[in-house]
């Protein structure tokens, strides 16, 4: 059996279904817009009384986290409906291949939503101050964070999809487990918003240390997900 062929089939299937229904992208995108809009309305009450740059990145990641929770649950509910997950489990596919197929699909959809949402974030929060650091550094922080969210989120969504309170369980598990990653990517993103140094200076130091922490978290947790997925999906 070719794992690559099976992985590609799962990814292609999810993309075809999403392009046809646009269910996840529409709901995630609208939700993210709404969340950012409410944050903007809340922050605007301060009438410029503080430097919004210090919290802007945190607000962006809050929107991404809430949006991803919406998408992660939906991606596994699609498999659970009509017994499709059982059909996959009955086939000669290694369980980690299912994990990577679903996780990469979730990452793709999350990145598409971020491409739409980040400009809105800039328009609402950074129009006056601008993004001090280079865009590629923010993009890298978003990518590293999204990989962790999609990967671990897929594993947690698989655990919760078989429970009665699947939405609630996913949210309860997500926050404590993802906290180290979220702390790191918020710190890295804030460094880009506030600082203009790529390799030197305090903001650069904060950025690279935080990004390193996030990348390390991603590596460890994705490895754990790879090893545990067989037990989680078969539970």
């Amino acid at each position: 059996m070719s794992s690559w062929r099976q992985f590609a089939a799962i990814l292609r299937k999810d993309i075809v279904m999403e392009l046809r229904t646009k269910e996840m992208l529409t709901s995630m995108g609208l939700y993210a817009f709404l969340v950012l809009l409410i944050y903007y309305l809340a922050v605007s009450q301060a009438n410029g009384g503080f430097n919004v740059g210090y919290i802007a990145a945190g607000l962006l990641w809050l929107a991404i986290v809430f949006t991803s929770l919406l998408g992660l649950n939906r991606s596994l509910v699609h498999e659970k409906d009509q017994g499709c997950l059982d059909a996959l489990l009955l086939s000669p596919i290694d369980r980690p291949v299912i994990f990577f197929g679903k996780a990469v699909g979730n990452l793709l959809f999350l990145l598409i939503v971020e491409v739409l949402v980040v400009p809105m974030f800039y328009f609402l929060f950074l129009l006056k101050t601008g993004l001090v650091g280079p865009v590629w550094m923010l993009a890298l922080a978003l990518l590293v964070g999204s990989i962790g969210i999609a990967g671990m989120g897929t594993m947690l969504a698989t655990m919760s999809v078989n429970t009665k309170g699947k939405d609630f369980i996913l949210a309860v598990l997500f926050v404590p487990i993802m906290f180290p990653l979220l702390y790191a990517v918020v710190a890295a993103s804030t460094a880009v918003v506030m600082g203009d140094a790529v390799f030197f200076g305090e903001w650069a130091k904060q950025y690279w240390q935080s990004l390193g922490l996030a990348a390390g978290y991603d590596s460890i947790m994705l490895l754990a997900a790879y090893g545990l997925y067989e037990f989680i999906i078969g539970a």
Binding site: M1, R5, M17, Q82, G83, C84, D86, A87
Partner: protein, 243 residues
């Protein structure tokens, strides 16, 4: 095929047990089924029929005992075994937002089939859904879903097919089509069917098994079964309730 296997047997079940907490869903189940046989499994709700079907099809693990399907241990050789089994359930196991053809293409890729297009066209014709291959499965009737589900289960030419209440919810016409499809492939496959329909199950089977409270009440070849006695025993078993 693994070494040291009994190549004549499709199923070898020895003291198979499964517990869920304090409840014994299966207890010491033992039987053999030869290749090419059609085993019908009967029993009241909660007897352990679906649990046993899940274990034999590698969807679940036993708590104790062993089970071999086509010589493969259902736990140790589960990945290899899945290449040889098909499963038809009362759930269609199909993606509603994909077309009939796309569903079969997806599973053909999962099973890494050579020449999938040819095989898919052949099966869609066999289940009389070729004219609907580009339609979304969400628009299919119950009977059409079951026919497509059969096509999905036969895609990779499995040696053994598990059926979990396949006639559930079908109208008489759809039942006839299902009967016809099973008859077409009957000779080449071993079947294991769970059913509440005593008449249908006995009509199709070469071996019959009655489970109650997780235990084997009766296991017999069809030729040795008197229908009236079997029916009486089954009714008595249903009255025994669950474990």
């Amino acid at each position: 095929m693994p070494e040291n296997t009994s190549t004549d047997l499709a199923l070898e079940v020895r003291e198979l047990s499964r517990t869920f907490g304090a409840r014994k869903a299966l207890s010491g189940v033992t039987f053999d089924v030869p290749k090419g046989a059609f085993l019908s499994i009967f029993g009241p709700n909660g007897a352990g029929k679906t649990t046993m079907l899940k274990i034999l099809s590698t969807l679940g693990n036993p708590s104790s005992g062993t089970a071999k399907v086509l010589g493969y241990n259902v736990v140790d050789d589960s990945v290899e075994l899945r290449e040889h089994i098909g499963f038809i359930s009362h759930n269609p196991l199909l993606y509603p937002d994909l077309t009939a053809e796309e569903n079969l293409e997806f599973f053909a890729e999962i099973y890494c089939l050579e020449n999938p297009k040819e095989r898919i066209r052949e099966l869609l014709t066999a289940v009389e859904l070729d004219h609907r291959r580009l339609d979304l499965v969400s628009a299919f009737s119950r009977g059409m879903l079951q026919r497509l589900s059969i096509a999905r289960a036969l895609l990779h030419s499995p040696e053994i097919i598990f059926l979990d209440e396949p006639y559930s919810g079908l109208d008489p016409h759809a039942m006839d089509i299902l009967d016809s499809l099973i008859a077409q492939v009957r000779e080449q496959h071993t079947f294991v069917m769970v059913s509440h329909d005593l008449q249908k199950g006995l009509e199709l089977c070469s071996h019959a098994l009655i489970l109650a409270k997780g235990k084997v009440v009766l296991f017999e070849e069809r030729d040795n079964i008197d229908e009236a006695e079997f029916s009486a025993l089954y009714r008595q078993t249903v009255g025994m309730g669950v474990s």
